[in-house]
């Protein structure tokens, strides 16, 4: 029977994407990556979707590339595996599309996030982790380096010293430790994870979507901009947001001391 590698459902403005290969701890096959990519593209084009929630079925979030299946791609002309080809065709476009999506992406990390799975988690804007989850830069154990943006996310989230140790030692980091390091926004008891993450995603889906999009874009550029360039970017984005209906509503609500009713416009 054909598997459905990614389950997708829309409710209350939230597109929930569930990695669905539980028998493989949701390891990434090429069909899984392709399906995720299609759903992110759908989130980009459908204005009714204002937030994305990413999680996994079963006891794992994502065990990384499926080494036993199609996760590592083709054999090159020299008869050796060409891992770069599948990065270029599948993994990198997915990570780029998550970061570029002008809507918040919330990760609900329900279990182990290993290898590419750990870095798929770090690509999310807000990461909530189950207390039992682990973040595992497993690459070095099979003589690879972190990919799916790991060598960028790590130093930008935990600092250079910890990034080098995590990448070189392949240490498995429990959720609590990940939160202390700043890899994860919050740790939630396993039983409450999906309810909390769904609440947060719905709250954000009812939030100032243009503001979130501008924040994402600004944070994406902050890594390479000088402060001087970033101040110009803030000026231009704030100018655009200042003309939005949600800003008008936000200020009116603030002055009237009531909750704002944002429409994402």
């Amino acid at each position: 029977m054909e598997e459905t590698p990614v389950l997708a459902a829309v409710q209350s403005g939230v597109l929930t994407l569930t990695l669905n290969r539980p028998q493989r701890l949701n390891a990434m096959s090429q069909p899984l990556i392709a399906a995720l990519g299609e759903q992110i593209a759908r989130a980009a084009s459908d204005s009714a979707i204002r937030a994305v929630l990413l999680t996994g079925t079963g006891r794992g979030f994502c065990a990384g590339a499926d080494l036993a299946g199609s996760g590592t791609g083709a054999i090159g002309a020299d008869g050796k595996p060409d891992l770069g080809a599948v990065m270029e065709s599948h993994y990198n476009p997915l990570i780029r599309s998550i970061r570029a999506l002008p809507k918040p992406v919330i990760g609900a990390i329900n279990g182990v996030a290993a290898g590419g799975g750990a870095n798929l988690a770090l690509a999310c804007d807000i990461v909530l982790a189950a207390r039992s989850a682990r973040f595992d830069q497993a690459f070095v154990r099979i003589s690879l380096m972190p990919d799916l943006g790991g060598t960028w996310f790590l130093p930008h989230t935990v600092g250079d010293a910890r990034a080098r140790a995590l990448a070189m030692l392949g240490t498995s980091v429990p959720a609590e430790e990940a939160a202390r390091m700043g890899m994860v926004w919050q740790v939630i008891d396993d039983a409450d994870l999906m309810a909390e993450a769904t609440n947060l995603a719905r709250k954000m889906a009812a939030g100032p979507t243009l503001s979130y999009a501008a924040i994402k874009q600004a944070m994406n550029r902050a890594g390479t901009n000088t402060l001087d360039q970033q101040l110009d970017l803030e000026r231009d984005s704030q100018r655009a947001l200042g003309k939005s209906a949600d800003f008008k509503e936000g200020v009116a609500a603030f002055l009237a001391k009531r909750a704002a009713d944002f429409k994402g416009r």
């Binding site: 918040p104 770090l122 804007d125 807000i126 990461v127 996310f153 930008h156 989230t157 935990v158 600092g159 700043g182 890899m183 994860v184 926004w185 947060l200 954000m204 939030g207 100032p208 243009l210 503001s211 979130y212 501008a214 924040i215 994402k216 600004a218 944070m219 902050a222 890594g223 390479t224 901009n225 000088t226 402060l227 001087d228 970033q230 101040l231 110009d232 970017l233 803030e234 000026r235 231009d236 984005s237 704030q238 100018r239 655009a240 947001l241 200042g242 003309k243 939005s244 949600d246 800003f247 008008k248 509503e249 936000g250 200020v251 609500a253 603030f254 002055l255 704002a260 944002f262």
Partner: protein
């Protein structure tokens, strides 16, 4: 010049700026930001000033832009970018480029661009009851005053996104744990502690402090090899200063150095 919305005091090399609209938790009106900008220009040009201390009058540090400011253009065609370009961005640039250390004593809530002022300081110290809030998303904006640049560098990409998007109010202690600020002290001790630190810096090796500031400003855009060159060039300049000569002499004689900022 005379200021109305801020206070400026000078005391042998230490300038203290106090945001002074306590009934508005020092929310920044057009008038106040124009004065703040003017003040930084004045201090940058004053060679006798060797350190700056920034704080707020009353129970707040700075509540951010004053949304109820009668001078604020609130029409649908209002240009939020213009105020940044004319006033706020020049202030942040001035705080980062002034060749003197800037210390913030965060005496209460630091919200919106008020938090950006604290983050733009070289050293921020908060009272225990102070709090920090990137309020912008609550009214449909993005963090400004450089916060989209400061946050990821101070707390990393993950926490930066959450602080900007979810706009939670965080305690001074949490801010210290995450590295947003240098230290937290009891409210009653805040001004004494912050003034001691600012005083020590005002009496310190001003040229070295300026070069430290400049090098750290550049470090985030440089690769290590470029930064080694920056250090070489600045150390060469500092090696010719009077304060270096005095520093070495004092070290060898096991006495306290008497730096002149030259």
């Amino acid at each position: 010049m005379a200021y109305e919305k801020i206070l400026l005091a000078r005391d042998s090399g230490l300038a203290t700026i106090t945001l002074n609209a306590p009934d508005r938790l020092n929310a920044v009106s057009r008038k106040m930001i124009a004065e703040i900008k003017q003040c930084w220009e004045e201090l940058a040009a004053d060679a006798s000033v060797r350190a700056v201390l920034l704080t707020g009058a009353g129970r707040g540090f700075c509540a951010g832009a004053d949304l109820a400011d009668p001078d604020r253009a609130a029409s649908a065609t209002a240009d939020s970018g213009a105020a940044l370009e004319q006033f706020f961005n020049p202030v942040i640039r001035a705080m980062r480029s002034i060749p003197k250390p800037v210390v913030s004593a965060v005496n209460g809530v630091a919200a919106g661009v008020g938090m950006s002022f604290a983050l733009a300081s070289d050293i921020a110290i908060a009272g225990k009851s102070a709090s920090f809030l990137q309020a912008f998303a609550r009214i449909g904006l993005l963090p400004d005053g450089g916060s989209t640049w400061f946050l990821p560098r101070l707390v990393g990409d993950q926490r930066a996104r959450a602080l900007a998007m979810l706009a939670p109010q965080i305690s001074a202690e949490q801010a210290r744990q995450w590295g947003l600020i240098w230290d937290v002290v009891d409210d009653a001790a805040l001004m004494t502690t912050a003034t001691e630190i600012a005083r020590k810096l005002a009496d310190g090796p001003t040229l070295a402090l300026a070069r430290i500031k400049e090098a750290l400003n550049q470090s985030t855009g440089n690769d290590l090899s470029q930064q080694l060159d920056v250090e070489r060039d600045s150390q060469r300049v500092l090696g010719r200063s009077d304060d270096f000569k005095e520093g070495v002499a004092a070290f060898l004689a096991k006495r306290k150095a008497d730096f002149k900022g030259k």
